[in-house]
């Protein structure tokens, strides 16, 4: 019964919340560039390109995470981590869904 330090906790927290965090950063980026891009003097086509690039990056990162979660699910310690990996996996999947429907918005609505 040895304690786990906060370094460990932060690592756990991040590994669990990585998916939603990526979604949130992604969301802030596309909202920011669409909302404020004009003020910075970006051209509409540039803004769209940027938003698509962000979408692809976020999607790729989330798929990578899903793969990682799946790989490490079977492995290691008996208590705690396994649940964390499972929760993290589901959260990443939901975040991926959220990114995909943002892409839908980007696809359908013109700037």
């Amino acid at each position: 019964m040895i304690g786990v330090g906060p370094g460990g906790f932060v690592r756990y927290l991040l590994s669990m919340l990585a998916g939603p965090l990526i979604w949130f950063i992604y969301f802030s980026v596309i909202y920011g560039v669409v909302g404020f891009g004009g003020a910075f003097g970006f051209a509409p086509s540039g803004i769209r390109l940027f938003a698509w690039a962000a979408t692809l990056a976020a999607g790729a990162a989330l798929i990578l995470l899903l793969w990682y979660a799946r790989r490490s699910r079977a492995s290691i310690e008996p208590k705690g981590p396994r649940a964390v990996h499972e929760v993290a996996g589901f959260l990443t999947a939901l975040s991926l869904f959220a990114v995909l429907i943002e892409a839908l918005a980007l696809l359908i609505v013109p700037l």
Binding site: I2, P20, K79
Partner: protein, 841 residues
């Protein structure tokens, strides 16, 4: 389990000592009580009082709207009523009541003796009670705010709201939010650090998960609205134009900040209620929750997605369509996690046999009403449909379905469900059924017609309507329904009066045969001993658990250190780490709350001198209160059973106070991010008041350089001081004190240099929105520096009093953390204020 940590029989007098240590103070001292059960119960009762008061306002409004062209209530009073109804329900009922249930139940669910900061809970409660009563009292003097609970400027600026009414909202609510944040920090540290041994994150009750998510959301959502109220109050009091378009401000900035708080707020209210339901359904069906991990996923995902919805409330403001589309999509994304929870409950009902008790009825009623509210929620997430229904009675119907369905019904279910652990007898099933029936019928009769009248074109917040609109019959029906709701609430109150008999010895007990730890025998000190947990429903898996716990076979069966104490465990695996000595009853936190409340309220009515006097007294009381904390390793490590010897004092990252400080700094960081957003936002809207357009001179680079240097010197001095503290036996205390004093001076110098740098260029905050924002960044930094200096002086005083040693250094560690954060934010602020105008022009 065959081997127990502690052997029987327990020594004579152990139990008596435990009882003596935790007992309720006598006489007027009863007000100083800090035990989570007493404070939690008083907290819940106060929240219910505000629920009833705000409900009475709703009834009066329904009377006015019962018939067209009614003259019962004049427009001014009506506008105050709907503003107060919304504000009181949101800020004085919904958030406090779930926080209160958390304070009341969490230690029991985790088999902790109490929360880690009991005086902080008491402080939050008293501040809320006193502040809330005065805030509500403003109604009786015609001083109640009348700008709507959302307080949109320019209507709430001094030009269109010249009286004190709006200030009551800004100051009163700002204050109550601070109390809510205090509670949230308490809950986070409580959940992460005071769980029973073995209660890993995966075995935590769903309610604890929900409260953890709830408290986490408060840390990020509330700072935005605190900043918004701060900015609007600056605008009202000193004409700093953040929201005035003529001077480069923008009324929409307020809406962004307000709804960045306001939309998560709905989930802040809903998630704990959903957590309660996820506890009640398994208890009533007798089987574990189906899809526990999915429900946890749903709670966490909801928390995140809800921060991407705020523009949902601003679809009609003329924001670009693509931005609206992003928020529309996010609104759809957030619906999925709610679906997970609904189906998890249905699956659990299918897995077991649902007993149709009163709590079950309320849960089923919740399910029906909440699903309707969720479906209309998806409808208004569609931008075109929202443009028709926004600010109409359709939304009134939707939000009441969501909030009453999603929050009030679960709270009533919770009242009926958990009363037996606090009361000598459970509530009446017969009265409970009446209450449920009246509420269920009443809610639907009141709010369903509102969907229709909204589609018939009736806007919100109108005190009257003309006869020929055809809105009369749905309104009459709604009024009738409102009285059915009132009757249902009344029946529940009668039930409580007849049957609720509060006790800390010999409660009605586990009447539902539930499986979680709050159903262990609970006394004034919590459970007699702290069990080792190996499943989510320990009471189902170990039939003798209650008896063994009561007999004292598990950890910590007595008061090892001779005072109040609880077990601190690790955040993930819940391994025992140390024994926390927690403070008992005190007048200090109570008086601190009273004087803090008085300070804010007197300031509102512009009685500056008494306000300052109360502020000074409040600070004095807080110092007196803190002075008793950080007791140091005043007791040798103790054996809590099973040869487990735990220290009674730790410092650094393992300490609970370190965790609380980190949580507090997260609050400060989110406030700063919101401020940075405001700065950027107003620039995009009105670049014409920025230096590039006005020719306003920026301070030459040596000013920010000097300021940054001063800040960094502060950080270095604190770090030096920390080194010296570790070696105090060699060098004595003087280098430590000197280091802290230097750090204080450097921080103050850094802030003042920055202030002077801008002042000497001729920039003034009232000039335009640029000036206002620059000085707002400085003002927020000055607040931090002031607190840091205050903490520094306090730490020096502790050192001088011999209360700071290389071992006993928790006070210093907190100050150190705070100072480093202050420096970090200060540097970031300099970078923004001096860098951005140079880059963006």
């Amino acid at each position: 389990m065959s081997d127990f940590p502690n052997a029987l029989p327990r020594p004579k007098g152990e139990l008596a000592e435990l009882e003596a240590i935790w007992k309720l103070p006598r006489g007027p001292g009863v007000l100083t009580v800090v035990n989570n059960t007493y404070i939690g119960l008083a907290y819940v009762a106060t929240a219910l009082l505000f629920f009833v008061l705000a409900g009475i306002l709703a009834l009066l409004m329904r009377l006015q709207l019962a018939v067209p062209d009614n003259t019962l209530i004049d427009q001014g009073t009506y506008n105050q009523f709907f503003t107060m109804h919304g504000t009181v329900m949101m800020f004085l009922f919904a958030v406090p009541v779930v926080e209160a249930v958390g304070i009341l139940l969490l230690p029991q669910m985790q088999a902790a003796r109490d929360l880690p900061f009991p005086r902080l809970s008491a402080f939050a409660f008293w501040a809320y009670l006193i502040g809330g009563l005065f805030f509500f009292g403003s109604l009786f003097f015609g001083l109640a705010p009348d700008g709507g609970w959302f307080m949109y400027p320019p209507l709430t600026g001094t030009r269109y709201s010249p009286g004190d009414n709006a200030d009551f909202w800004l100051v009163g609510i700002g204050f109550i939010e601070i109390s809510a944040i205090a509670g949230a920090i308490e809950i986070i540290v409580g959940i992460l650090r005071t769980r029973a041994p073995g209660m890993t994150l995966d075995k935590m009750p769903v309610f604890a998960w929900a409260m953890l998510v709830f408290a986490g959301m408060i840390l990020f959502a509330f700072p935005a609205v605190i900043l918004a109220t701060f900015l609007l109050e600056l605008e009202r009091a000193f004409q700093w134009p953040f929201f005035i378009p003529d001077k480069g401000g923008d009324p929409l900035l307020w809406q962004h900040l307000f709804w960045f708080f306001g939309h998560p707020e709905v989930y802040i209210i809903f998630l704990p209620a959903a957590g309660m339901v996820s506890m009640i359904v398994p208890a009533m069906t007798g089987v574990p929750l189906v899809g526990y991990r999915l429900v946890v996923v749903a709670l966490v995902a909801t928390a995140f997605f809800s921060f991407g919805l705020w523009v949902h409330h601003m679809f009609a403001t003329g924001i670009p369509e693509l931005s609206l589309a992003f928020f529309s999509a996010a609104s759809v994304a957030v619906a999925v996690p709610s679906g997970i929870q609904v189906f998890s409950w249905i699956a659990t009902i299918a897995a077991g046999r649902l007993r149709l008790t009163v709590p079950s009825l309320f849960v089923l009623g919740f399910l029906a009403i909440f699903v309707i509210g969720g479906l209309t929620g998806v409808m208004v997430a569609m931008v075109p449909f929202d443009l028709q229904t926004h600010d109409t009675y359709f939304i009134v119907a939707h939000l009441h379905y969501v909030l009453i369905g999603g929050m009030v019904f679960p709270v009533f279910a919770a009242i009926y469900h958990w009363t037996p652990i606090l009361s000598a007898r459970p509530l009446s099933e017969r009265l409970g059924r009446w209450s449920f029936g009246l509420l269920f019928v009443g809610v639907n009769v009141t709010f369903f017609p509102m969907h229709i009248v909204g589609l018939m074109g009736m806007p919100r917040r109108v005190y009257t309507y003309p006869e020929q609109m055809g809105w009369d019959w749905p309104n009459l029906l709604s009024t009738a329904g409102a009285f059915a709701i009132a009757a249902g609430v009344l029946v529940c109150l009668v039930d409580l009066a007849l049957n609720f008999r509060f006790t800390t010895t010999g409660s009605a007990g586990n009447v539902w045969r539930a499986g979680t730890l709050e159903w262990l025998p609970n006394e004034v000190y919590g459970t007699r001993s702290i069990p080792v947990v190996s499943s989510r429903e320990p009471l189902w898996d170990d039939a003798n658990l209650a008896e063994d716990v009561r007999a004292g076979r598990y950890f910590l069966p007595g008061a090892s250190t001779g005072g109040r104490e609880t077990l601190i465990t690790s955040p993930i695996h819940a391994d025992p780490q140390y024994l926390l000595q927690i403070p008992g009853p005190s007048w200090r936190s109570l008086l601190a709350a009273a004087f803090t409340a008085a300070f804010f309220l007197l300031l509102t009515v512009k009685l500056v001198v008494p306000a300052v006097a109360c502020g000074v007294l409040a600070v004095a009381m807080i110092i007196a209160w803190l002075w008793q904390t950080d007791p140091g390793a005043n007791h040798p490590p103790v054996d809590i059973g099973d040869d487990l010897v735990l220290p009674v004092y730790v410092t650094g990252p393992a300490s609970h106070s370190w965790w609380a400080m980190v949580a507090l700094l997260l609050v400060a960081a989110s406030l700063f991010i919101a401020l940075f957003f405001s700065y950027l936002y107003n620039w995009t809207v009105s670049p014409q008041v920025w230096p590039a357009a006005t020719g306003q001179r920026l301070p030459v680079a040596s000013w920010p350089a000097a300021s940054a240097t001063a800040f960094m010197v502060g950080s270095v001095a604190m770090a030096f001081s920390g080194q010296m503290l570790a070696r105090a036996r060699e060098y004595g205390d003087w280098p430590v004190r000197l280091g802290i004093a230097c750090a204080c001076l450097a921080l103050a110098a850094g802030a003042l240099i920055e202030l002077q740098g801008h002042w000497q260029t001729g920039l003034r905050p009232a000039m335009n929105s640029y000036g206002a924002l620059v000085y707002a960044v400085i003002a927020v930094q000055c607040q931090l520096v002031a607190v840091a200096v205050f903490m520094g002086l306090y730490t020096i005083a502790r050192s001088a009093a011999g209360m700071l040693t290389p071992v006993r250094r928790a006070t210093f560690d907190n100050t150190l953390l705070f100072c480093h954060y202050t420096v970090g934010q200060g540097l970031l602020g300099l970078l923004i204020v001096h860098g951005f105008p140079r880059i963006a022009g």
